[in-house]
Amino acid sequence: MTTRYTKSHEYVRVEGGTGVVGITDYAQSQLGDVVFVELPPVGERLSKGAEAATVESVKAASEVNAPVSGEVVEVNSALADSPGLVNEDPSGKGWFLKIKLTDATELDSLMDEDSYRAFLKAVS
């Protein structure tokens, strides 16, 4: 299992060709209270960097981009009734969608946990 991060604060946790995508704890803390998450339909094909979902916090609407290319194989239906899971447990119960990777080498262009931590230090 490997977890990779984007500069726009999404994560993808990959296990056996499928990645769980969500936003980082830093991202949720910056967004504040999440009130709605718009998720893509299962089966949608996303290319790396394309808009995958929209998070509505009390403050604003923000785009969530696909960290890697692939097909959406599952979305977190629990977010419909409990969007606050994104704030409470962003890397666990607050995940957004699962994506079947088309090109695992795309992961190489993303940050590992140590690099992401260093990146956060630099931006905050």
Binding site: G32, E56, V58
Partner: protein, 386 residues
């Protein structure tokens, strides 16, 4: 998530006297009107919002412009630039009004408090919005050369808002003043001595709740703010909840709901124009304002109650059930007190009737919404012991 603002981007911004306190309280800071301001504290916007509605919230609004306009005839002179009845203000009373341009459009909205006269000069305390404050003051100075405009650069401004605000504040002024602070009705103001400084307190605010705005020397502000925050009934509130609170209260945000393209009548602010001003005129933009009052404006600011959970925000187009575009949202979001999205915006007057079903377009899809009277949450102003 590329729109997250980094600390580097806020480095050049102006700090209010409470900057260190905000950081110590764990605020998430953002750039607003050239200032670095707290958007939210660790408890989050919803928590802060609900706390203000049930107890009391402390807001740093020191970025707003404060000034004193004085002159032998300052009230009548200011009336040449605003449609509000300033001449009728007794000392210690305040009024909401707007600076208008020659087209009857709004340059800014402001609070005007009549202070006691001094040496035969009338004195008005003005509080204007942060972003247009320099332009406002330049406009006032240019249009009213016979008056003196003193910009109060070294004053902080705090707002204490919520049902517990009055009982908290009375504990923090001199005992002799406590009773008069509590008895002060909405839109009244006074100056209260406290440990060698003067607090200029008004019973006003931007949340729809009972509450106060307190102007005080910048140097004294952090200590006084901390003292209020030491009360269990008071928590710090950021700009995020300030926005959701004023939205629920149906209050206009300058630069969004009102600006240089909107007039006071279509904005639903005719209540702030007295009969005398309307009949006598004598202010910039009078012709346009009078025409709008007599014939009715072509569009009107209304409230929208949005079905479902998707917030409809500023810029969203409003269409009828038949698909005809009738207006646009000027501010909107999630209303924490109602647990649902609400919005305000302008629609063609023919479609502005309460109860009408309309569709805000969000990300290309129509949502279901209904035009409703504003405020969304009733005001709880203290009108005095009657």
């Amino acid at each position: 998530m590329s729109d997250i603002q980094t600390a580097a981007a806020v480095r050049d911004l102006v700090r209010t006297p409470l900057y260190d306190l905000h950081r110590a309280l764990g605020a998430c800071m953002t750039g607003f009107a050239g200032y670095t301001m707290p958007v939210q504290y660790p408890s989050g916007i919803v928590g802060e919002h609900l706390f203000t509605r049930t107890r009391a919230g402390l807001f740093d609004v020191s970025h707003m412009g404060q000034a004193i306009l004085s002159g032998p005839n300052a009230a009548r002179r200011l009336e040449t630039l605003v449609p509000g009845d300033i001449a009728a203000l007794a000392p210690g009373r305040m009024r909401y009004t707007q600076l208008l341009d020659g087209h009857g459009h709004i340059l800014d909205d402001l609070m005007v408090t009549r202070l006691d006269d001094e040496a035969g000069r009338e004195r008005l305390f003005l509080v204007v919005n942060a972003a247009p404050k320099r332009a406002d003051f330049a406009h006032l100075a240019a249009e009213l050369p016979d008056c003196a405009l003193t910009v109060l650069e070294d004053r902080a401004l705090l707002a204490l808002q919520g049902p517990r605000a009055a009982e908290v504040l009375r504990r923090h002024v001199l005992p002799a003043a406590a009773k008069s602070v509590s008895a002060m009705p909405f839109m009244a103001a006074g100056s209260y001595a406290r440990e060698g400084i003067f607090l200029d307190i008004s019973r006003s605010g931007y949340t729809g709740e009972d509450g106060f705005e307190i102007s005080l020397p910048a140097a004294a502000a952090p200590g006084f703010a901390q003292e209020l925050l030491d009360e269990a009934d008071v928590r710090p509130i950021g700009l995020g909840a300030r926005d959701s609170l004023r939205l629920e209260a149906g209050l206009c945000l300058y630069g969004h709901d009102i600006d240089r393209t909107t007039g006071p009548v279509e904005a639903g602010l005719s209540w702030s124009i007295s009969k005398r001003r309307c009949e006598e005129g004598g202010f910039l933009g009078y012709e346009q304002v009078k025409r709008a009052i007599e014939y009715g404006p072509s569009r009107l600011r209304v409230g929208f109650l949005v079905d479902g959970k998707v917030p409809a925000r500023e810029g969203a187009e409003i269409v009828t059930l038949e698909g005809e575009t009738i207006g646009r949202i000027t501010s909107g979001g999630f209303a924490p007190s109602l647990g649902r999205p609400v919005a305000m915006g302008y629609v063609d007057t023919a479609h502005a009737a309460p109860g009408a079903q309309v569709c805000p377009i969000v990300r290309g899809k129509p949502l279901a919404a209904k035009i409703v009277p504003i405020p969304f949450v009733p005001h709880h102003y203290f009108r005095g012991d009657r």
